[in-house]
């Protein structure tokens, strides 16, 4: 946990609740985007992220600093996500569903703004999200935390609450499944 996180947490616990707002600003995008990957839905990710921050705020006094604040936050978020999943019981299982659920639009921000490029990019993104959504939840979560957050296996294990070996296994299985599902895209990627 960075020192600044600690300071903000201390400030918040001392009653300066706006300090928590700073923490929210700092981590909201990371958490949200990761949750989009885990949940496959922008809406759900927004709700879960919001819920996670609120829960974190309420439980902040229980945070002991043994792990990074972000790890702790994510653990809370995943718990919320699980609840949300159970509640909603919806995971996009097709590209169309993924497109609908993820709200992916041609969001390419790179200079290559030609329409076909944007469309291809969008198609690729939708395909990735759809394939991701078909993974088992625990595989998907572990892989998203690795690929999108670049967390260590230890951090992921801490967040999801399982041994490091299990994390390694889950990530590998997730990759193997995705490799099969996205073979075409991977081939294109290699060719380009």
């Amino acid at each position: 946990m960075s020192k600044l996180d600690q300071e903000l947490i201390a400030d918040c616990l001392a009653g300066q609740t706006h300090a928590f707002g700073d923490l929210v600003v700092r981590y909201q995008n990371r958490l949200f985007n990761t949750l989009v990957g885990v949940l496959g839905s922008v809406e759900d990710a927004h709700d879960v992220a919001q819920e996670a921050f609120v829960n974190a705020f309420q439980k902040l006094h229980t945070f002991r600093g043994r792990s990074a604040f972000y790890s702790w936050l994510f653990r809370i978020a995943l718990n919320s996500a699980v609840s949300q999943k159970r509640k909603l019981n919806r995971v996009p299982v097709s590209i169309e569903a993924a497109r609908e659920q993820s709200g992916v639009e041609p969001l390419d921000r790179h200079p290559a703004t030609r329409p076909e490029y944007a469309m291809e990019t969008s198609e690729r993104q939708v395909a990735v999200r759809a394939a991701l959504a078909e993974l088992a939840e625990e595989f998907r979560t572990a892989l998203v935390l690795k690929e999108m957050e670049d967390l260590s296996y230890e951090e992921i294990a801490d967040i999801v609450g399982c041994p490091i070996g299990t994390v390694r296994s889950r990530i590998h299985r997730a990759r193997s499944e995705l490799r099969e599902k996205l073979q075409g895209l991977l081939q294109e990627s290699h060719d380009s």
């Binding site: 001392a14 929210v24 909201q28 985007n33 609120v54 969001l107 921000r109 590998h172 995705l178």
Partner: protein, 529 residues
């Protein structure tokens, strides 16, 4: 070789999660096995695909939404649980509340507890050690305050104009119960500066009332806690707010606290105990205080059923600023004053109790004296220059607001300066005419008081000076300026002892069963001219 390694090693290799020995072995494997190389490339390709996924940026308002939601959740644990979420424990700043009434009443009393003079020594109001907010007016003068007896107070009450009805809950001579007068200490028994005032901000057809027994308890508990905590708090600020929609008013207040870096302490006793060592423990409400579980107030209502409480610790000026923000937002026409209040520390417990009583009793009529001052001011109207604001107020039909205060017995009523919200029926004229500023603030005591009032400046000043009951002050006011503004020195630091920590106990009640106050016919704004 590949039999010795599974793809899992490739994945872990990609992630840099292998030991040096394993890494070296995998690298040798990759060199010799094309299929392993291909698989590793595929895994890398997957990482690139992930990297290409768009990242959405949430708006900055998201954080604000989160904070609002968190605060709301703190205040509305029932709502959270009703929504399928766990009830929030640990934030029992809300013991309970109702949301029926919409009025907001604030009584702010700042008590100095940092004085170490000998008990019983009368206290002369002195300058506030805290630096006032920049937009607060400087203190008028130092004032030695007198206390009036209840009889005097009662005699001060009454219609300000022929045909006017007594304003809300005013103690009329006929209605002033003997018991009330008896509970008000005589001037000799009171220290100077023991005057508090109360104003009321009300909305719609409801208005607030002060349960003085409850407030008395709140003050006593707060003072006692401060003393026992041994902390460096110099003031106890007791705020009594009525009928705040907990999903609105208190959140609003908390937001403003937060905006002013005011720490809100809202942990319940149980969690405070569990968190020994946390500095907030010292701030927790006492187990038998007005926020305690099951506490019953004088009116027989259970504490958790009609009260909310906040403990905050902040600098006095920040608290004042927060209230300014809150009330100014809710009631744009409201003017704020900071008045001399109570110096407490020099008093022995018995005297403190008397002081509290007297303060409360006095507070219930202080604004009444403001009206009395208004009557007197009618005679001085020539010097008042008839500002639209004051004229509007004088023309305003008084609010028939008398009713029973549950904590004071059936005969006891109170009187308050009523500040209707913009657009509410009865005093739009006042709202329209009331200037947005400047704030008319005073701080002539070692502690402060905020008075929320929509009275015109002249009347406000009269109320202030009558609160101090200092003829010299009144004279100086009248002589100094035609519009009776305080003859204030230039703004300056009131005292070098800064900052001043305020231990504030906020009791926010609502009275769902309160009868609606009859609507007052709106006074056309054009009639004020």
């Amino acid at each position: 070789m590949s039999e010795l390694f599974s793809d899992e090693f490739l994945s872990a290799y990609l992630d840099g999660e292998l030991s040096p020995h394993e890494r070296a072995a995998v690298e040798r494997w990759i060199e010799r096995a094309p299929e392993a190389r291909q698989r590793l490339e595929d895994f890398r390709g997957l990482s690139r695909l992930f990297g290409d996924l768009p990242r959405t940026e949430l708006p900055r308002e998201f954080a604000t939404e989160v904070m609002h939601l968190a605060e709301r959740r703190m205040l509305l644990p029932d709502a959270a649980s009703a929504g399928g979420r766990k009830r929030i424990r640990g934030w029992t700043l809300v013991l309970a509340a109702t949301t029926a009434a919409a009025g907001l009443l604030l009584t702010l009393t700042v008590l100095n507890v940092d004085d170490h003079r000998a008990p019983g020594v009368p206290v002369v109001a002195r300058n506030n050690p805290g630096a006032p907010p920049a937009d607060f007016a400087p203190p008028a003068t130092r004032a030695v305050q007198k206390e009036q007896t209840g009889v005097q107070l009662a005699q001060d009450e009454g219609p300000s104009r022929p045909g006017d009805q007594p304003r809300g809950g005013a103690l009329s001579p006929a209605s002033a119960p003997a018991g009330v007068a008896a509970r008000v200490p005589t001037e000799a028994a009171l220290p100077a500066g023991a005057v508090t005032a109360k104003s009321e901000v009300s909305e719609g057809s409801h208005s607030g009332t002060v349960d003085s027994d409850q407030q008395l308890k709140a003050i006593s508990v707060a003072v006692q806690e401060v003393r026992e905590s041994g902390t460096a708090h110099k003031y106890v600020l007791v705020v009594r707010a009525h009928a705040v929609d907990r999903a609105d008013g208190l959140v609003l207040l908390q937001n403003d606290f937060a905006a002013n870096n005011i720490r809100v302490d809202a942990r319940d006793a149980e969690e405070s105990k569990a968190a020994t060592g946390d500095r907030r423990v010292a701030d927790k409400p006492s187990a038998n205080g007005p926020f305690a579980e099951g506490h019953r107030f004088a009116d027989g209502k259970k504490g958790e059923a009609n009260s909310e409480g906040l403990y905050v610790e902040a600098e006095a000026d920040a608290v004042i600023a927060a209230f300014k923000t809150t009330l100014a937002r809710r009631h744009p026409g409201v003017q704020f004053t900071v008045e001399p209040a109570i110096e407490l520390a020099a008093l022995d417990p018995e005297l403190q109790r008397n002081l509290f009583r007297s303060s409360l009793e006095k507070s219930q009529s202080d604004v009444g004296r403001g009206d009395d001052a208004a009557k007197a001011k009618d005679g001085d109207a020539k010097s008042d220059k008839k500002s639209p604001q004051s004229v509007a107020s004088q023309r305003k039909t008084p609010m028939p607001n008398a009713r029973t205060s549950p904590g004071l017995g059936p005969q006891k009523t109170e009187r308050s300066a009523r500040v209707p919200p913009p657009g509410s029926g009865d005093s739009d004229a006042d709202e329209k005419d009331a200037p947005a500023g400047p704030d008319r603030s005073q701080s002539t005591g070692n502690a402060r008081q905020i008075v929320v009032s929509n009275l015109p400046p002249a009347i406000q000043n009269r109320a202030r000076s009558s609160g101090k009951a200092n003829p010299t002050d009144e004279k100086s006011l009248d002589e100094k300026s035609g519009d009776a503004r305080p003859s204030s020195p230039a703004p300056k630091e009131l005292d070098e002892r800064s900052p001043v920590l305020v231990r504030m106990l906020i009791v926010i009640d609502s009275e769902p069963q309160r009868p609606a106050v009859p609507a007052v016919k709106k006074e056309p704004s054009g009639g004020a001219s």
